[in-house]
């Protein structure tokens, strides 16, 4: 039994962040599910979604952690399964928050489509990259994926979501949506860095940034984005419920 235990080097930062990520996501999920009982009924759905985002991520981090320890490889497959479920859910949060200002279902579907497009293209670009790295492959799918990201970015900063938030009567919602927009602008921008670090990527070939760093970037970004995103939604829900 003891032979199955894998030793970890103290400077294995990727492994370290996998463990931290797993526990943090699990703790955040428990927190959001329990706190769901402390908010007004109209905010319960938002907290449920926050709990689902971190819960789904915790389960995937559990698998990714083991996969990484056993093989030392990037768990790209699990990573994208996780993102394909959680990122559209993050977009659902934007819809739920702006619903009070009149957001329509079409906005929800547009955001879900853009986020799924972004992830599917990113997955093809990363998982089906030929051995040694093909630049044309990573660029083509990288550009297509970025289009989805830019659409979401535009929507939350200057487009439909931003306008709906401005029209909302609640300052808390306005501020909250703006904070979430910051997550999309800064937090989500970490993912392209990871993408460009893979073999054949620009940061990998031009600046020598190792593809080993990809998971480190992704783990940090996930922790900030998923838990941070949920906490902002929680703050809106609890503040509005106290009114």
């Amino acid at each position: 039994m003891l032979l199955d235990i894998t030793t970890m080097a103290p400077d294995d930062y990727v492994g370290f962040t996998f463990f931290i990520g797993y526990m943090a996501m699990a703790a955040a999920a428990v927190f959001f599910f329990i706190e769901r009982g402390s908010v007004d009924p109209k905010w319960k759905m938002s907290l449920l979604v926050s709990g689902l985002i971190t819960g789904i991520a915790a389960v995937h981090y559990f698998y990714m952690r083991d996969y990484y320890l056993a093989t030392g490889d990037n768990p790209t497959f699990f990573r994208y399964v996780d993102w394909t479920l959680t990122v559209p859910l993050m977009c659902v949060e934007f819809y739920l928050l702006t619903k009070v200002a009149g957001a329509r279902k079409s906005l929800l579907w547009k955001l879900i489509f853009a986020s799924t497009w972004m992830l599917v293209c990113g997955y093809i670009g990363e998982a089906f990259n030929p051995a040694g790295g093909s630049t044309s492959h990573s660029v083509t799918w990288g550009v297509l994926s970025t289009l989805g990201y830019l659409y979401i970015l535009h929507s939350v900063w200057m487009g439909e979501v931003a306008k709906l938030a401005d029209e909302s009567k609640s300052d808390v919602v306005k501020k909250g949506v703006r904070t979430l927009a910051w997550f999309v602008l800064v937090g989500w921008a970490i993912y392209p860095i990871g993408y460009m670090c893979m073999d054949g990527g620009w940061l990998n070939s031009a600046l020598g940034w190792s593809s080993q760093n990809v998971d480190l970037w992704y783990n940090i970004a996930d922790a900030i984005n998923k838990i941070g995103f949920g906490l902002v939604v929680y703050n809106i829900a609890i503040t509005e419920s106290k009114k």
């Binding site: 630049t135 990573s138 660029v139 970025t146 970015l153 900063w157 200057m158 703006r178 392209p192 620009w202």
Partner: protein, 300 residues
Amino acid sequence: MNSITFIFLVCLYALFFIYEAIGGIKIENQIFYCSMLIIAFGIPHGALDHILFFKKRNTSQVKFYSIYLGLVLFFILLWIYYPTLSLTLFLIISAFHFGESQFEDIDIKKYSNSLLLYLVWGLSLLINLIFYNVDELNVLTTLFKDTEPFYYLYNHKFVTYGFISFNLVAIGLLFNLLHNKIINWNKLLSELFLFGLIHLTFFLFPFIIGFTLYFVILHSIRVMKYEYDFFKKESNNFNLFVFVKLVTPYTLLSLFFSGFLFILSSKDIISVSIPLLSLIIISAITLPHAIVMHIFYHEK
């Protein structure tokens, strides 16, 4: 994030992928395409100086044009006799002008350090551009004999100290704006984000591309948008076509004179290299433009 920062971000992503696809852009192509962009956006952004000035001051046309063209002539003469001093002066004026246009959207009149903020923000911008591209600049300036004296600018110690101090002071002043309740947290974060984005641009891309990205999008287009919004506020009938019609005469005039001087230089009729000539022309028109824009921004 405003629409200008969004455009900047889209261009950055596009360049990331261009670099990923082709590994880099040849220096000749960089110079050609960047010059085209700088001319296409840089000259028009200053082509409305006369209209903007008369919106704020009641001065006779003769007086305005005499002073405006007199300043252009003064700077050209200064270049002939004191090139190093002229370059230093040009950088300081540009820094101030870049800083001033960066903060045009906030009510900064009540802020006592506004002039210092403009200058330091602009100086940090220029020194960042130099700091990240020192080696490239060394090569570029030694390509021509008459640009060699500008080596003093790339003295490594000066650049490193300048980089640290100007950046720290610029960031400190931004926090000071927050402390004085002139901006809120959201605006501060936007400014810091843009500041970081500019750092990243200058770090990742060559000197010419980095500067062009900043100058075209974050300066020229931004200023033109400001000018456009100003005229639009004055008249509902104002549109893009009218704006283009307004900027065209002086843009063409500037292009004609610049082209004429470039022909003289390429035929060795005047013994000034093309890069130095470009610098002289740009700095000569920057001085009066910066003064007009200062009046325009300040006398809101």
